[in-house]
Symmetry: C2
Subunit: 131 residues, 2 copies
């Protein structure tokens, strides 16, 4: 029997939808569809299908409100951010978060301001841990 590949990661379109739901908190098919960019031009039924799939994969739950379904993430955006970073770090950075940050801070496009913010974050975390 072939093992079902359960990736735990969102596909491109799934992520697009989850991003809207994270922003909305929760919402109907119509809510999400209306929130997509003007030029996205996705059929209503397509959007409904994506949400159905997200529910099958247990990334969202739904409740009924009158005749509509209201969808709500079961996984927080922060948790998914962590999961994605872990995946990227594993696949492309030898599972060494420091080397990921190294690549990031060596990016010329990164502003001085962003660098300062990053250091502040790291410092705060180090202080909290030790003190």
């Amino acid at each position: 029997m072939r093992q079902k590949k359960k990736s735990e990661l969102l596909t491109e379109v799934e992520l697009e939808f989850m991003t809207e739901l994270w922003d909305l908190g929760e919402g109907t098919v119509r809510d999400v569809l209306d929130k997509l960019p003007e030029d996205r031009n996705l059929a209503y039924t397509s959007a409904a299908t994506i949400l159905r799939i997200l529910e099958q994969k247990e990334f969202v739950t739904s409740r009924k409100d009158g005749k509509r379904h209201v969808f709500k993430p079961t996984l927080g955006k922060d948790a998914y951010q962590t999961r994605s970073l872990k995946d990227l770090s594993m696949k492309l950075f030898d599972d060494t978060p420091a080397s990921l940050v190294a690549r990031l801070v060596n990016d010329d496009a990164l502003t001085e301001e962003a660098l300062g913010q990053i250091r502040a974050l790291v410092d705060r975390r180090l202080k909290n841990d030790s003190g």
Copy 2:
């Protein structure tokens, strides 16, 4: 006319192959295939197809060596790391690298040592920029 979707990002299997090529520097179909995990069990022709696709997408070039083709990345691993981070940052972190790092350093699984390394990297970059 429909715009060809040119993603610039590697698919799962493409990344798997590029990773081996980055490690090898360059290599033949056989070289890459032999480098995959024991239990990968991919047919030779499948590997050849992936490399052919990577060449079509211009992620690698090939030269002939006797009767075999030797494949070589056109894009460095570091450049692709940067590209991936930019993509992730855009899709999941509001295009704000600092918030990506914030998520990373807030991950409880991150060791004190890794944190120290990260701060050192940031400090070094800040010093170099100003002095």
